[in-house]
């Protein structure tokens, strides 16, 4: 569903639901599968991606007139890499323990296709303010997806939330396995599809009567 008006609210809702990077566009799946085992991991990576997305969207939107179209992709990835280095050094200085768990994935934000795709599709054509909100929405959507997965896997797998014990036992230990990420994402996608189908069916019924 394309967005008609580019108001901030529309752009953010677009990032959260219609074009959710993880469940709808199926881009940047690697962290969603690999390290969404706890809510904290999801939160940390979500913050990092939000920052990188907003910063590089703004940068590209500012310098878009000076980039030669033939070499735009290398330029975009260099811009992203610069901001990733910034957030990488910052996180490793301020959150050393959590940084260790997330490991190599912070550096790999450079190659998340969601960021490159938003730069190519949106920021290289639009002025600064809408680019900022689009980047913000996409980053929030990614964070929302990561935290949902992290919540499901941590709650069902270990019975804890943010490390605090909530359930007395571990209901489904399977979810803490790294492989369960694939199943979790698959089921979440099915849920999103199902919601869309039902929504459409209700709408059609209403139009019919």
């Amino acid at each position: 569903m394309p967005v008609k008006k580019k108001t901030p609210l529309n752009l953010i809702m677009n990032g959260l639901f219609n074009e959710n990077p993880i469940f709808r566009l199926a881009l940047s799946m690697c962290p969603a599968v690999g390290i969404s085992t706890t809510l904290m991991n999801g939160f940390l990576l979500g913050i990092a991606v939000l920052f990188v997305q907003v910063a590089s969207s703004c940068t590209v939107s500012l310098i878009k007139n000076y980039i030669h179209p033939k070499i735009r992709i290398p330029i975009y990835s260099l811009v992203i890499a610069t901001w990733v280095t910034v957030i990488d050094l910052t996180l490793s200085a301020y959150f050393p323990t959590a940084y260790k768990a997330v490991g190599i994935f912070i550096k790999l934000i450079v190659t998340f296709s969601i960021i490159l795709m938003r730069l190519e599709v949106f920021a290289s054509r639009e002025p600064l303010i809408p680019s900022f909100w689009d980047g913000f929405g996409m980053g929030l959507g990614f964070m929302f997806g990561m935290m949902t997965l992290g919540f499901i896997r941590e709650f069902l797998g270990a019975g804890t939330i943010f490390g605090h014990q909530i359930l007395p036992s571990r209901p489904l230990l399977f979810f803490i396995l790294p492989v369960a990420g694939f199943f979790c994402v698959g089921f979440m996608m099915a849920v999103y599809n199902w919601v869309e189908f039902t929504y459409k069916r209700i709408k059609e019924k209403r139009m019919g009567t």
């Binding site: 690697c30 690999g34 260099l78 790999l108 190659t111 998340f112 296709s113 490159l116 996608m189």
Partner: protein, 312 residues
Amino acid sequence: MRWKKFFLFLFLFLFTKAYPSSFVMKSSFLGKDKIFVLFAGPVDKKIAEDKGNYYIYEKPDPDIPLRIKEISLSEDRRSLTISFYEELNQHVPHVVHIKNLISEGRKIGPVVFSVKKSYAGFLLAILIGAMLVHNFVFTKYLGLCVFFGTSRRKSTAIGMGITFTIVMVCSAMISWFLYHYVLVPLHLQFFQVVMFIGIVSLIVQAVDIILRKINPYLFKAFGIYLMLVLANCVILAVPLLIVVNNYNALEAFIFSLGAGLGYFIALFLMSCVREKLELANVPPSYRGLSIAFITAGLFGLAFMGFSGMSIF
């Protein structure tokens, strides 16, 4: 006759090379934190199990002795197991210095020998490890976006696999040389992410422009996959892992080759299954990517069978 003598000398040469100290018949790593030693004759238990009697270090840094946890001698007093507090870095040879040993009342004196793995076996272990045991798609969960995008047909899977392997090896080698001869001397290691991704994107762009002019037919076959290589996490993860693991040039080459081939294998397996899945009767909300993810999860469970496997 001459050949027989030659082989005899060769055999003797190899034998003496492998076991420089004649009293030590065999030495090897055992598990993650143990060293196993086999002596030619029974040794005195009291002296052999004394920790102060040993000085063990990694060959590059002789000043740092490794802390010994326990030394145990077997029943026949010929084989010795030395266990350590920390895990041993088995990629470097370890030197074991025993100050004195007594065998059946006969003094052997100081014994020095080194414990190491065979290098060809180590290279093979890197290759198989990157390809199957730590497969980048199914056990490290990297490069998934491109993986699900290009595994719909067998033909696209093969095209992507070949392009990816070639770009992977080239970029990993160039990154290795630039990292070790430019960034390390200048103390600019924090710059690695920018440099690695810059190299990859420049290679991709250059190949794109050159191939378009020189061989349009080849470009038609593989050109569309070139840009996808750039959005693949594995292409950045491999140089970073090479830096973390401190591989030399040959090991880096083998590792990147293994990563590329592993990706190829994963793509091919997945595309075979997904071609069949299109004919299957799947519930509507699971159709498309959702069922593909669940299939990948099953593959991941299967690849877990490789985990913990160590070769050589």
